[in-house]
Amino acid sequence: MSKLTSHIQIKNLDVYYGKSQALKNISIEIPRNQITVIMGPSGCGKTTLLKSMNRFLELNDQTRITGTVLVDGEDIYARDADVTEVRKTVGLLAQRPFPLPMSIYDNVAHGMHIHQMKSGRKKYDEAVEHYLKLAGLWDEVKDRLHEPAASLSIGQQQRLCLARGLAVEPEIILGDEPTSALDPISSQHIEKILLGLKNDYTIVIVSHILRQARRLADYVLFMYLGELIEAGPAHQVFEEPKMEQTRGYLSGQF
């Protein structure tokens, strides 16, 4: 598969919260197996755009959405689309880690269990180990798998949340400022893991930290006041931004 094929296609997306418009006519293609970083000043619609991709916007009653979001060519807002399947395919790493109120082991196994993906204790054990290793947490928790997830440090919790998301075999991982609640070392840890995962997953991250965006991004979207201002390969956007607003943002004006 060519590196340039797009995995998510968004066409003419408008999002309203009540009467105010949060996203204005967004059309963008997000490349497969790369890390795409959505940047922009706060309130510009970064998170709204991200959450349009796993149908999280509809958790708010006041939201109205028009336009299409295609994942692998399939419309995730289609009438016959199963929202649980959409969210299984498009995982989300939230801003603050929220493990489930159960053991470390069960946190990872829970998704596989509700989607009936495995059978037998041994299969589960193997899968839990695999995903905890993938999230770089295995060595720290292998002797305490049945302890409460709440007993982990916040950085460990975020990696557990990543393992929990990976366990339902998504194709896409969304990250909503996934390191903003973490200390610098835990943030580095998460960044390293994400870089390692991009060969197998399409990753889309919202970040307001410019340096983080530079470290992670293969592809960049810059948003401002609900509009998509500029999108392109990271080196191009960072080195030679085409638009005035992008230049302003990159030079720290807002």
Binding site: N54, F56, L59, T84, E85, V86, R87, K88, G91, L92, A94, R96, F98, P99, L100, P101, M102, S103, H110, G111, I114, H115, P148, A149, A150, S151, C161, R164, G165, A167, V168
Partner: protein
């Protein structure tokens, strides 16, 4: 300058109010202590193995042999049955309020109804239950008592659970939704586990109210000297055992009333401490 404390008006007022608050809170501790003291002093001499292992013999209420095993077993049956039935009805209500209703008008109406029901005196529940039992031709029985106790306990249980559920972080539900859970799966696997310590406390609160209530079981469960053998048999209870014995003119029978009160208190205490222990173990899994 000077860092030494000067007795100004605001310091005097603070000391005064602190004193009032301390006195108010010591009333509570004093009451508990005094109640325990009274039932121990008056009840302990009459408490014997015979008392808790036998049903009343002929002439028991005149001071002859026997015990209150009928009331102990009866109360445990009634309160356990009522609490389980109430839990069965309360949990879906609480989950429904949390997961689907939120603060919608229907949700608030249900909350209002529960608050009003909470305030209704238990004798009214008893009378209400009795009227219905008469209408369907049912006699005073264990089942009747269980149903009325469940009605009495539901508002307490649901409101206690509702308080816990409202402290549920919204992000936690979203975390479960993000891996493709349905709302029902979120409710059953995540909300319930997060609430478990709260559910345990709610159940205890309701059980305590149920086992101690005399008025609601007076007409509906009746009273008997036998241990109930089926859901249709009339059933004795400790609160009524206390009431009947205390209203006799014989000092030794009155003393047995205090012994019965002591037994009732011990049951509540054991359940209360047990659930605290359980709740603190479950608390470890709760996501803050």
């Amino acid at each position: 300058m000077g860092m030494k404390k000067k007795w100004r008006k605001r310091h005097i007022i603070e000391t005064l109010f602190k004193g009032i608050m301390f006195l108010s809170s010591s009333v509570v501790v004093f009451c508990l202590g005094y109640i325990l003291w009274t039932i121990i002093i008056k009840g302990l001499p009459a408490l014997s193995w015979e008392m808790i292992s036998q049903v009343p013999q002929g002439g028991y209420y005149l001071g002859k042999e026997g015990g209150i095993l009928n009331a102990i077993i009866g109360s445990l049956y009634l309160a356990t049955g009522g609490t389980l039935l109430a839990l069965l009805i309360s949990l879906p209500i609480a989950l429904y309020m949390e997961t689907y209703m939120g603060t919608s008008r229907w949700g608030n109406l249900v909350r209002l109804a529960l608050d009003v029901l909470w305030g209704i005196p238990s004798i009214v529940y008893g009378a209400f239950g009795f009227t219905i039992m008469l209408a369907i031709g049912m006699r005073a029985s264990l089942l009747g008592g269980i149903i009325v106790l469940a009605l009495l306990e539901i508002p307490i249980m649901v409101r206690a659970m509702d308080e816990v559920i409202r402290q549920m972080p919204k992000d936690l539900e979203q975390a479960a939704l993000a891996i493709g859970s349905t709302k029902l799966e979120v409710a059953l696997h995540v909300v319930i586990r997060q609430m478990l310590p709260g559910i345990v406390s709610a159940v205890l609160l309701a059980f305590g109210r149920g086992i101690g209530d005399a008025a609601s079981v007076l007409f509906t469960a009746g009273y008997t000297d036998r241990i109930p053998t089926s859901l249709m048999s009339p059933t004795a209870s400790l609160p009524l055992a206390i009431f009947f014995q205390l209203s006799t003119p014989f000092p030794e029978v009155q003393q047995r009333a205090y012994a019965a009160a002591l037994v009732l208190t011990i049951i509540v205490l054991v359940i209360s401490l047990g659930s605290r222990w359980l709740s603190s173990r479950l608390e470890k899994f709760v996501i803050k």
